[in-house]
């Protein structure tokens, strides 16, 4: 009984932190379940995928109604993220858990460094407007492709579609292997490689996460990799936590929280490395 409540409380904490720091739940839930509750890595990934779907579905509708997410671009890249997730979901059952834990430790370290850099940036330049990004992108683009036109948004036209497809395939594999949304790959890919404005890239990535995670969650579910007793309380906690976090976001000094969180990520990365080393 107590364990069920603790799982819900842990999920709640992951939802609040994830929402405040703009992270998907997976980067928090997998360590919570493996290090905190002793769940096997593969089962933790299965539960995490469910939680990732919950947070993505809850936020994606809002992004669409506000016209921030690009549904057409999302549907194009989803073909590749879902394919990657299917492959990753199958490969995950063939790889040793120690190797997966090692890969997760690398992801944690990368996320911690990214957050630290973001926090240390003294005065970030003003965000480019969609018009500016569109103009810069247009200058670097090959001749117009009708598909690129079809998935274009206000003031921008996504370029380098082949690179985008390849990167999306990789993001899907990472999502399925490690139980994360893959936003850490997809957002830079769309923004820096394809020339999509950052806000649109973030919202579109969120939209795609649900389908990507669903593709691998189906494999985990049908192969007995999702424990409903653990997934239920954790997912409910994450959902409530994400709602609370979104309401707290404007009242909390996020920079301090980010530094604290970097420390937690670094410690967790060490624990995951130890687990990987047996």
């Amino acid at each position: 009984m107590i364990v069920g409540l603790l799982l819900a409380a842990g999920g709640f904490g992951a939802g609040v932190f994830g929402s405040l720091l703009g992270l998907g739940g997976g980067i928090l839930i997998v360590p919570l379940l493996t290090v905190g509750f002793g769940v096997s890595f593969r089962e933790a990934v299965g539960v995490s995928l469910v939680c990732v779907i919950v947070t993505s579905s809850a936020a994606a509708g809002v992004y669409l109604e506000r016209h921030l997410a690009n549904l057409r671009l999302g549907m194009l890249l989803e073909v590749f993220t879902a394919t990657g997730a299917l492959v990753g979901g199958l490969v995950a059952f063939a790889l040793p858990e120690q190797l997966l834990a090692g890969l997760f430790a690398i992801l944690l370290a990368y996320t911690a460094i990214s957050m630290l850099r973001r926090g240390r940036a003294p005065a970030s330049p003003p965000p480019a407007t969609t018009d500016e990004l569109g103009a810069a992108d247009a200058g670097a683009q090959p001749p117009t492709s009708s598909l690129a036109d079809e998935i274009a948004g206000p003031g921008y036209r996504p370029g380098r579609l082949v690179a985008g497809a390849g990167g999306s395939l990789g993001a899907g594999v990472v999502s399925a292997l490690l139980g994360v949304g893959g936003g850490i790959v997809k957002v830079p890919l769309m923004h820096l490689v394809m020339g999509v404005p950052l806000k649109v890239a973030t919202a579109t990535s969120n939209l795609m996460i649900g389908v990507t995670a669903a593709a691998s969650a189906i494999v985990y579910l049908l192969r007995g990799g999702i424990d409903p007793y653990v997934a239920g309380p954790t997912a409910v906690g994450v959902f409530v936590g994400a709602m609370v976090g979104s309401r707290l976001a404007s009242r909390i000094h996020v920079d301090l929280l980010r530094l604290l969180f970097v420390g937690v990520l670094a410690l967790t990365a060490v624990q995951m490395t130890l687990r990987a080393l047996g």
Binding site: V3, A58, P228, G232, V236
Partner: protein
């Protein structure tokens, strides 16, 4: 006809009119229904004194689901909640594909169908892989 901005102008690259709003409703309803079922299942789990980590979980058995729900067994609500949660993004893709089909946008329909084919392959692969 596509969506419009708050000042009445067309949104470049927007989905056909009504599709985004319909998808938003599907996502909101699916998420809430899935979470409500998982919450009920979790409460029944606690009420039954089952420790999630101490016991083997019951396998997914679709045929037993109605009986589990009627008997208020936690696994019935938990499995149904998980199925609804996982199906919600797939319903979103289906709704978008149908919306683009109504608007006669064949390329977008093909993309939507391609995603659904990958999902179908995931079902087959998950059910048959050793």
């Amino acid at each position: 006809m596509s969506a419009t901005t708050p000042d009445g102008g067309p949104v470049v690259g927007a989905a056909p009119a009504g599709v985004e709003a319909q998808i938003a409703r599907i996502l909101a309803l699916g998420t809430r229904l899935g979470i409500a079922l998982l919450a009920v299942g979790s409460l029944l789990l606690v009420a039954a004194g089952i420790s999630p980590l101490a016991e083997d979980w019951p396998p997914l058995d679709l045929a037993a689901l109605p009986a589990d729900l009627l008997a208020l067994r936690p696994e019935g609500f938990l499995w149904l909640g998980l199925l609804v949660t996982i199906a919600t993004p797939l319903l979103r893709v289906t709704a978008a594909t149908l919306g683009f089909a109504r608007a006669g946008e064949r390329r977008m329909v093909l993309l939507g169908v391609a995603v659904l084919v990958v999902i179908a392959l995931a079902v087959v692969a998950g059910a048959t892989a050793d």
